[in-house]
Symmetry: C2
Subunit: 464 residues, 2 copies
């Protein structure tokens, strides 16, 4: 009977094809939050359905009022009757943003040798096409060598993660029985260090708000009326500037209701991790305002934040236009910790804005997302098995870490299906996810695939 | 010999053609601040050259490194040897802005009957194609009846007024002898009330600044780094929110250096005007912050201001993008009063911004414009003649007023050619100049043309 080494050899052998296919997938512009991405979304969904079918999955495209999901099943040969593993990834990507800010073609990836690494650039290179490709290729190699899987496998690929997962809750509710299994592996998270793997066992909640402040008039000539009429840029700037106090705390009334201090055991573990290495060393923290009394890691993993993602009003150039705009728009995201309710946070924010609006001006809000923070159990046997598998591949202990990011799916799977989730992934801080020149490298792709093979092997040998 | 009534009759007779031609001119998209406007600029310049030539002017297109000017001359028959009148208008227009904010086609004007007025909408309808058309048609009618002009006439039409008049100073310097005359009539200003004409004898200076704040990193994932990294929207909002204090005064150090209090005689005249009627009644002043201790009219005409014209950063939609942007941009304009030097004001602002930048962040500035305030002499005989002419047409006294707007030309003509300027125009507050649905009406066009005929007649009978 073949063993794990045989599967790892199959992974190694197939790398040229693995890379070629991945670059093909990255070249599909599957942007979910912009209508221009719709053809790319559909193309990527079919592409993935075909790949999963080729490995032997019963794979189908599940349509939603938004973008489709791919749901694929395969029976297990070892723990077939009882155990089931769900692998989650998302195939949609963020918008490009400002095209001129990219040095590389966001949808024309190539392998480039840089600093001894084989890098590839592209929107979705890191978040999250390479990531989902690690487990699909791991499953492929396993199947190729063993002729089957060590457990019943469910693969779930989402097409709306970057646009708020609006249709995911209804899908999970509708397919709750089909999704039932023992553990969900969410492959959309990061490593602790470039060569030290991690399980993310704490995720933040997420709320998006789009706020538009309307002045009491439409656009006006700024010379004629600038001295007397409401300027929505000025009003919006004042509101945004009031969100944080001088200590970097959120000044929105009620924002911290229900938030407990970070437990001392967590603070200690995180402090020990920080002493070992600084995962933020590639990021210039100058100019940032970290909440007083907290280390950077505590602020990111353990404290709720308000982030401004975009602002627009009036003249966008290229030349000058002497106008007082009629309205100004800001987009904000809120990252929540345990104890915070997304809809209550939304209401606090809206109250905060309304209370600061001058007479005669008005505000319109458009909300998206709305998920709570989740914490995963450290003592789950799958957590331990996954940690062992990662450790064997990377040769260093697996870190149990928190995150500043959010995966609304985790809360929904827990609430609806009763499923615990473990986030495993191989993103690094300088992958520029969501930014221009998003990137990944072939070494992490390779070791990522091998990691999943080792995790499957550990799961196969788990005592149940 | 024909008299003024004959010329006025010719104006009345020709109105259908006058309107038809004007709508044709407005339909040319002569946007000066955006490269897309270049063909429209060139078309409008030729159109106007042809019209002036048809009236008997020696009209030429003067090229510049930017957009061309039209300079036209005609000899006088009455005061030919000594007196010369310069008529200034600009044929370029503001950009459309947000196209969806317009109810009417910005470049497809039609006459619509509304509230008993015959209105037409379009970019440049009010600012300033109808305005320049009033004096061209006035001159045409005069010439048609008299066969010549009562004085030597210079017509100067600019194509860069809405984009900073960057090439006007060099042109004036180069053509200073050709521009020498007795008075310049600048037709780019407003009435006091819908049926009460005005001479604008005080204009503000103007400085534009485009400010970009760069954070210490490029775009970052807002979940991963929002708690710790600099957010340029937050920094820029803080800077913009600090520009005004609670009393509506500008908190930029040095901004008021050299600014004297508004003289009491001016305050008294303006207060008397305000008691008579409220020219701002169509504007909702709620939410505006008027500098403490000043009436709205004093703030507009007599006090310097800082106005935010535009802001842009990060996600512009349509969907969400969870990003901390790498940079944020704001566009501001400064309206100056006597005693303020434009370049000193620019420096004050840049110092203000730099002193508020967190460590690791930087700012880039792009400056445009730079003109001082000007005040015109009340006792100039042409001021008196023009006031008499306007009064005869409108049947009510002509108001000598200030303005919140700026016409950099006035300072340049004074400094370089020693020429005094009188701003006369027929704009009203609800013409929405620079905004969507910019408009004008045929009654003002008609009476505006007649006004210039009466002014020419007064000038003809001036004692010299």
């Amino acid at each position: 009977m073949p063993d794990v080494e045989d599967v790892l050899k199959e992974v190694d052998r197939n790398m040229p094809t693995t890379i070629e296919k991945l670059l093909d997938l990255i070249s599909i512009p599957s942007i979910s939050s912009d209508p221009i991405g719709k053809p790319g979304i559909e193309q990527a969904a079919r592409w993935l359905q075909d790949e999963l079918s080729a490995i032997g999955f019963e794979a189908r495209i599940v349509t939603t009022p938004g973008h489709p999901l791919i749901l694929a099943h395969a029976g297990g040969t070892t723990m077939a009757d009882t155990a089931g593993l769900l692998f989650y990834g998302h195939y949609d990507v963020q918008p490009v943003g400002v095209a001129e800010d990219w040095t590389h073609d966001p949808f024309g990836p190539q392998i480039l040798e840089e600093d001894g690494r084989h890098r590839f650039y592209g929107r979705g290179a890191s978040d999250s096409k390479s990531q989902l490709w690690t487990f699909i290729e791991g499953l492929r190699a396993w199947k190729a060598v063993h002729g089957g899987f060590p457990a019943r496998i469910i693969v779930l690929l989402e097409g709306e993660e970057e646009s708020g997962s609006q249709n995911l809750p209804a899908f999970i509710e509708a397919c709750r029985e089909e999704l039932a299994c023992d553990i969900a592996f969410i492959c959309d998270s990061d490593m602790w260090l470039p060569h030290q793997p991690a399980l993310t066992i704490q995720l933040k909640g997420l709320v998006h708000e789009k706020l538009t402040v309307f002045a009491s008039n439409g656009d006006l000539h700024s010379g004629a009326f600038g001295a007397v009429a409401a300027n929505p840029i000025r009003i919006l700037s004042g509101i945004l500037a009031a969100i944080h106090d001088e200590d970097g705390r959120i000044a929105i009334e009620g924002f911290y209701d229900g938030v407990d201090p970070i437990p001392s055991h967590a603070r200690e573990q995180w402090a020990a991790l920080s002493r070992q290495a600084d995962p933020l060393e590639k990021i210039d923290l100058r100019g940032g305002v970290i909440e007083a009394g907290h280390s950077p890691l505590e602020a990111i993993w353990g404290r709720p934040t308000v982030d401004m993602n975009g602002i627009t009003s009036g003249n966008q150039g290229p030349g000058e236009r002497s106008v007082i705009p009629g309205y100004a728009t800001a987009r904000l995201s809120f990252r929540l910790v345990e104890g915070q309710d997304p809809e209550k946070i939304r209401e606090c924010f809206r109250r905060f804005v309304r209370s600061r609006l001058p007479e005669g001006c008005s505000a319109e809000f458009e909300g998206a997302n709305g998920s709570s923070a989740v914490t995963m159990p450290r003592d789950n046997p799958f957590v331990k098995a996954a940690a062992r598998g990662l450790e064997k591949e990377w040769g260093v202990p697996t870190v149990l870490k928190g995150s500043g990011g959010s995966i609304p799916l985790a809360q929904q799977l827990k609430d609806t299906v009763g499923l615990d989730c473990i986030a495993i992934g191989f993103i690094l801080p300088d992958d520029a996810i969501h930014g221009p020149d998003e990137r990944y490298d072939t070494e992490r792709l390779h070791k990522g695939i091998r990691s999943w093979v080792r995790i499957l092997d550990e799961v196969q040998h788990m005592k149940r």
